[in-house]
């Protein structure tokens, strides 16, 4: 399959990209790394008139470190993070997650913002960043807004972005040095999309104890206060299985085998956070 005929623009600044995105006379699609969009174009699952490539916009590749957070430009690649080009404020979590995304060839081009906007439930960032408590910075024609990441993804391949809006960056809180995290995903094979993801973050100094079950049929399932879920002692046996299963069932993840695999992923993420 070959894509339909489309025009291509590669603006140099955010305002120009937003202006192109606001055109209502043509179907516009924004492309960052293109690692998911490329195949979708070829399969004609999307048939844009205009492709706006945002990878030439310098400010989307910026990384800004602050006292309590870091802001990563949406066009920073997975490989940039994997290779340590982004300062570490997450006790190594970002770097570890990045290094496990797909294959190196995909990581070289794929971007953190592109992954979030694509909103594939099986992708790594949406689950990992949800556990880290990240916010998405969105630019529109008039204003900039910030959305907690739980509110950004609306469903499978759906986000909170309005027409003409772009994700410019992701703000991630700085973890305290005592924070512990665990990330576990199951894949049929290396580099494939995850079948199940479990993420766990415990940062007592910031009063954070959060668990996420990802690679579901939709948005990640968040346990914003996971203290009851993980139970006393944080041992694998202490996990409140019923609470976890109820959470999954409430989100439409009802198949018992799927539940079992997701539960195992979460349990292993917690175990990793506890150093085992």
């Amino acid at each position: 399959m070959k894509p339909v005929r489309f025009d291509y623009a590669r603006p140099a600044d955010l305002a120009a990209a937003i202006a192109l995105g606001r055109r209502d006379d043509v179907v516009v699609k924004v492309i960052a790394g293109g690692q998911s969009l490329g195949p979708m174009l070829n399969l004609r699952l999307i048939q844009p008139d205009l492709l706006v490539d945002i990878t030439a916009i310098a400010e989307l590749k910026r990384v800004e470190e602050a006292a309590d957070s870091i802001t990563i430009g949406s066009c920073v690649t997975h490989a940039d993070i994997e290779d340590g080009h982004v300062p570490d404020v997450t006790c190594g979590a970002l770097r570890a997650v990045a290094s496990g995304i797909a294959y190196r060839a995909v990581r070289n081009r794929g971007t953190i913002g592109g992954s979030l906007v694509h909103a594939d439930p099986s992708a790594d960032w949406i689950s990992a960043l949800t556990a880290l408590g990240a916010s998405v910075i969105i630019h529109g024609a008039q204003q900039e807004r910030r959305v907690p990441i739980e509110g950004f993804m609306a469903g499978v391949f759906e986000t909170d972005l309005a027409s003409g809006e772009l994700v410019s960056g992701i703000q991630i809180p700085r973890l305290s040095s005592a924070a512990r995290w665990g990330y576990y995903k199951t894949c049929r094979k290396t580099g494939e999309f995850a079948h199940a993801i479990g993420v766990y973050l415990e940062d007592p100094e910031r009063s954070v104890c959060r668990a996420v079950i990802g690679a579901t049929g939709g948005k990640p399932i968040v346990f914003a206060d996971a203290n009851a879920l993980v139970g006393a002692g944080r041992s694998p046996g202490a996990l409140d299985v019923k609470l976890a299963r109820d959470g999954m069932t409430a989100h439409g993840l009802t198949d018992p085998i799927d539940q079992q695999i997701h539960l195992a992923a979460l349990r292993r993420a917690i175990a990793r956070a506890n150093g085992s």
């Binding site: 399959m1 070959k2 894509p3 339909v4 005929r5 195949p39 399969l43 004609r44 199951t186 049929r188 094979k189 290396t190 580099g191 494939e192 999309f193 079948h195 199940a196 018992p256 085998i257 079992q260 695999i261 195992a264 992923a265």
Partner: protein, 778 residues
């Protein structure tokens, strides 16, 4: 052994161009005026065609069945009794019978534009019930694929040898076993460029195919051309595995189109076409019972096997080769006294099933080896003990088994012993007792198989398919500068024949392999051949090259003796020279004499000169039997169903190895495909007959991280009937891994009472089996 002859671990000559990106594949070919073709394909599995609406703006760029007047459908009939023939139209007429069947052909300067045009064509289809389940398709209530058949059975076969003597056996193990529908996945898909030459009145088809002469015969038949009016060129081809053995409807369409439109036309298969409508294979179902005594000796096998053949019988192998072969090869390398097998080749609304590396063997090995392990568990002995009791023994060779297969040579029990020792089963048993610290369960599994290769006329005439192999020919030609050209009708697309056939010629003539050119892949330049399939090339084309080179040696010796002023009885050919007692003369000088200085030739010189086409067939053409025992050690994660292959041993006997490095490559590649069959690859269909995997994101192939390096141990029992004692080994690597891995998984899950009987063994199937076992235990 010389440094370049039989047995040398020579680097592959063809890799110099292939690894530097200088290969020339069909999609690399450029022709002036070339236009691209995209097909409109059926979106439904089964429907009556009410109409095809082409917008007026594109009416000159779109062709349908109505345009292709006089073109005959593809028809591959088997001579087996009761076979029902199907006619596969190049473009659908009246009915569509699978998703992806060709309905219209669109032409444009680029593929993208051709797809644009294809998207404007509207199909008016009257949907019919889809036949998607081969077992249900056997019922009289099923919808019919081919209305005039009365049922959906291409062919039913039945054999019974003394099964009544086994029925009272004390141990009886029955299992329902299946292998999923799969897709062959060569790096390069199919593709073709067709050109009509007005001067020669000849159609040239450049095709990514592995059997160019057979494609030519089939294509000429469909288009109503003399065979002399068709030339098929298979340039560099990126893997075949059986998919490229088939004459495609797309190729017939392109041939017809090139004759109509006066410019070259091209179709390059994309991966979606390839997965959903092309390279399907392997879908088998077995109801199989093993009978044994209380010591675990196998007394009989009773089996009903069903193969989902898809909608049409493909040319040239037909829709029944797979299932009919099941009946003859199911007994494997085992000697037991009673056997019954009934097989069905069933037509369904899926694309035709095609022969894939190992063909039916992967399925039968899976079914039989799983039953042997089930018997071992039932009786309470080690699986290798069950096998050791019944494996054909070296002192029985040559051995005719219960289905009259003629085993030529080998020491099968030794391959089993070595595999058991190498994987160290006693150590595994100790480790199992101790348990794994990570909570996983480990298990060990075995599978032994035999691989009949290069079987010829005496085997294939019985199937009665459109092609029966006979003598294989090769042309050897000394060039005036002392080089050698070898012209062969087989095709090399990964097998390394440009190297190994040169090694054979070197063995006879001693010419440096760098000066030996293997010409293949062009019907205008090579002797007729059924081509590359059935692991036959080294035996057949290798034998023919040897025979042709011996003829050249004989003729060169005569000329050389004259030039050396001695008698021909006093010279030998070796090291690229004719050597006499008093001196020697190079084959180059002899060639120059024949071509350019004939005044110096002996008066009784052979007028055939230094070029000879010789046909070859082994002394007995019932096939060579190579074999192996595979042993797998796996770890199963019972919580998430993941399987890791911890160790894998292959003890293989491929007869004389012409180039052991290439043999290792064949085994590694086959093993990787076997791992795919075992754990990953599946082309699911829904009840509407829709294929559910259309990209490699849905259709999983094992990657480097999923395929560990197997430990390969070679035995080398020479074949008694072939030149140099070679045997075919092209397919074996892909045959046993599903069985060995499944047996290992079942061994691991034995404490839980779970058993896996369907490939691929996915995490979900593992967890379902564990859950089932848990339910039945409580």
């Amino acid at each position: 052994m010389t440094e370049q002859g039989i047995g040398a671990r020579l680097l592959r000559k063809e890799d110099d161009r292939l690894l530097r990106g200088r290969g020339q594949f069909v999609a690399d070919l450029r022709f002036a005026g070339l236009k691209d073709v995209a097909f409109v394909r059926s979106p439904l599995a089964h429907a009556r065609i009410r109409g095809i609406v082409v917008p007026l703006t594109h009416k000159d760029a779109v062709f349908t069945a109505g345009d292709m007047k006089g073109v005959k459908p593809i028809r591959a009939v088997s001579g087996l009794r009761g076979f029902k023939a199907s006619d596969q139209p190049s473009l659908a007429t009246e009915k569509v019978r699978f998703v992806g069947e060709l309905v219209a052909m669109c032409i444009a300067p680029t593929r993208a534009e051709a797809e644009d045009i294809a998207s404007t064509v509207t199909l008016d289809l009257d949907e019919l019930p889809a036949v998607y389940d081969m077992l249900a398709a056997r019922n009289s209530t099923s919808a019919l694929l081919h209305d005039d058949w009365g049922d959906n059975v291409f062919l039913e076969t039945f054999v019974d040898t003394n099964i009544d003597k086994a029925l009272d056996a004390p141990i009886k193990v029955t299992r329902e076993i299946s292998t999923a529908r799969q897709c062959m996945a060569p790096l390069e898909g199919r593709g073709a460029v067709a050109i009509w030459d007005k001067r020669l009145e000849q159609l040239t088809l450049h095709s990514a195919c592995q059997m160019p002469h057979i494609v030519r015969t089939g294509l000429a038949g469909c288009l109503g051309l003399d065979e002399g009016q068709v030339r098929v060129i298979a340039p560099d081809v990126g893997g075949g595995f059986g998919y490229k053995a088939i004459l495609l409807a797309e190729e017939v369409c392109l041939g017809w189109l090139a004759m109509q439109c006066g410019h070259p036309v091209r179709w390059i298969e994309d991966r979606r076409e390839h997965l959903t409508a092309g390279a399907n294979c392997r879908e088998h179902h077995y109801r199989i019972t093993g009978y044994a005594d209380r010591d675990g000796r196998l007394l009989g096998i009773d089996c009903e096997a069903t193969v989902d053949s898809g909608a049409y019988s493909s040319y040239p192998f037909s829709a029944c080769l797979e299932a009919a072969q099941v009946a003859s090869i199911l007994p494997g390398p085992y000697d037991f006294p009673a056997y019954r097998c009934r097989t069905y080749s069933i037509a369904t609304n899926k694309c035709p099933i095609l022969p894939y590396r190992g063909v039916a063997r992967t399925g039968v090995c899976f079914a039989l080896e799983l039953v042997l392990d089930a018997i071992a568990r039932e009786v309470g002995i080690e699986p290798h003990e069950v096998r050791a009791k019944i494996l054909v023994k070296p002192e029985q060779m040559p051995f005719d088994n219960i289905t009259k297969k003629h085993f030529d040579s080998g020491d099968y029990p030794e391959s089993l012993r070595r595999a058991v020792g190498s994987i160290d089963i006693p150590a595994v048993r100790v480790r199992q007792k101790n348990g794994e610290t990570d909570g996983r369960l480990i298990g060990v599994g075995l599978a032994t198989y035999c691989e009949q290769a290069a079987h010829g006329t005496s085997v294939y005439y019985g199937w009665g398919i459109p092609m029966v192999p006979g003598f294989e020919q090769a042309t050897a030609r000394l060039t005036p500068d002392g080089g050698l050209e070898l012209r062969v009708g087989v095709h090399s697309h990964g097998q390394g024949l440009e190297t190994t056939l040169a090694q054979v010629a070197h063995e006879i003539l001693g010419i440096d392999v760098s000066k030996i050119k293997v010409v293949h892949g062009d019907t205008a330049m090579t002797p007729y051949s059924t081509g590359t399939w059935g692991s036959r090339c080294m035996v057949m084309a290798g034998g023919a090259v040897s025979a042709a080179c011996k003829e050249i040696a004989k003729r060169a010796a005569k000329i050389g003796a004259q030039l050396l002023q001695t008698d021909v009885s006093r010279v030998t050919v070796r090291g690229g020279e004719v050597v006499g007692s008093q001196g020697s003369i190079t084959l180059g000088e002899i060639a120059r004499t024949w071509y350019l200085k004939p005044q110096n030739l002996p008066s009784d010189v052979d007028p055939g000169g230094l070029e000879a086409t010789i046909g070859y067939k082994p002394v007995r053409d019932t096939g060579t039997f190579s074999y192996a025992t595979h042993a797998a050690l796996v770890a199963v994660d019972p919580e998430i169903g993941d399987i890791e292959i911890l160790d894998y041993v292959i003890v293989e006997d491929g007869g004389k190895l012409v180039n052991p490095m290439i043999v290792d490559g064949q085994i590694y590649g086959g093993f990787a495909q076997g791992v795919g069959t075992a754990l990953y690859e599946e082309m699911p269909f829904n009840s509407a007959g829709q294929p559910l995997a259309s990209t490699f994101a849905d259709y999983l192939l094992p990657g480097p991280t999923e395929v560990p390096a197997p430990r390969v141990d070679h035995m080398e029992t020479l074949a008694p009937y072939t030149e140099f004692g070679v045997k075919g080994i092209g397919e074996g690597g892909a045959i046993a891994p599903p069985a060995a891995i499944a047996n290992a998984v079942n061994d691991a899950l034995r404490p839980l009472g779970a058993e896996l009987l369907n490939s691929p063994i996915t995490p979900r199937r593992v967890l379902e089996a564990i859950a089932r076992a848990g339910r039945s235990a409580t």
